[in-house]
């Protein structure tokens, strides 16, 4: 990606885990969904990569460990949206989803119920990625670990444990 692209005013940069099959699928969908507006897309989708310095070039406060732990959207003003907030902002910027994305800003008695549901959905999806085919994702939740072990037991033989396979899925 060129610096000119990065510096394009008004464009948000969505960072995704390029080693995660689930994240790649979602990133492809976002890219395709923003494609109907060539030259007018407000989103740049790019993998996090492995170079902490390259991320610092995007935004000085971007920490590569954090970027892998939670979805990050770098806003044109340099601020960042994380997790469910980042997902909502992406949906607000896609032609096919912006019609309902306004819901995430709706406040009821000071709370944003639709955003809360989206936050929860994001957390669940992030956690169950190993069950959806991500070989590079770990989970600290015992139920996911156990379910993954069960899936592994019934599928292809492979080593598992407290480490991250270098095979890309």
């Amino acid at each position: 990606m060129s610096d000119a692209q990065i510096a394009s005013p008004g464009r948000r940069i969505l960072l995704f885990d390029g080693d995660c099959a689930v994240c790649r699928t979602i990133a492809r969908w976002v890219t395709r969904s923003s494609a109907p507006q060539p030259g007018r897309s407000t989103l740049i989708v790019r993998p996090i990569g492995h170079d902490p310095e390259a991320l610092h070039a995007l935004n000085l406060s971007l920490d590569i460990w954090d970027a892998y732990a939670t979805i990050h959207l770098v806003m044109p003003d340099g601020s960042m949206k994380l997790g469910g907030e980042a997902v909502a902002e992406v949906l607000r910027n896609l032609p096919g989803t912006r019609w309902f994305a306004w819901l995430f800003a709706v406040r009821v008695f000071g709370h944003r119920p639709f955003q809360a549901v989206l936050d929860l959905g994001y957390l669940v999806l992030a956690d169950v990625r190993p069950l959806l085919g991500c070989e590079s994702c770990g989970s600290k939740n015992p139920y996911v670990t156990k379910a993954k072990a069960l899936v592994d037991f019934f599928t292809a033989p492979r080593t598992s444990g407290g480490h991250h396979s270098r095979r890309s899925s």
């Binding site: 492995h50 970027a67 892998y68 994702c137 600290k140 480490h163 991250h164 270098r166 095979r167």
Partner: protein, 116 residues
């Protein structure tokens, strides 16, 4: 540049510097092959930094970012991260794959191979 968050007790090493720093290095040397996308590496990070600080007078610690140094990882048969490889006199004397993030057991795992 030192990898984000790393302490001075752990030095970055790459393909271009591996021979001079690790293979030609003196004394016990521990090389951590890690990647940022690996959640276990993140869990282990503060533990290995603590252990490296504790052992800094006895052992030298290096870190290889396998996302950037894939060939180096392949050469040493690293199939998953984190993998810690112990070297002395340019020879591998031990290896730990996916250690528990526990300081005492990690210290033991990283010192025992040098006591044989």
């Amino acid at each position: 540049m030192n990898i984000s968050g790393a302490t001075d007790a752990i030095h970055d090493v790459a393909e271009s510097t591996f021979a001079s720093l690790v293979l030609a290095g003196s004394g016990p040397i521990v090389v951590e092959f890690m990647s940022y996308g690996c959640s276990h590496c993140r869990t282990l990070e503060p533990v290995i930094e603590h252990v490296a600080e504790e052992l800094t007078s006895r052992e030298t610690f290096f870190r290889v970012n396998v996302g950037m140094e894939g060939e180096l990882a392949d050469r040493y048969g690293v199939t998953g991260t984190p993998t810690l490889v112990m070297f002395r006199d340019a020879r591998e004397v031990g290896r730990v794959v996916g250690p528990r993030p526990d300081a005492s057991s990690l210290t033991l795992a990283l010192t025992q191979p040098f006591e044989r």
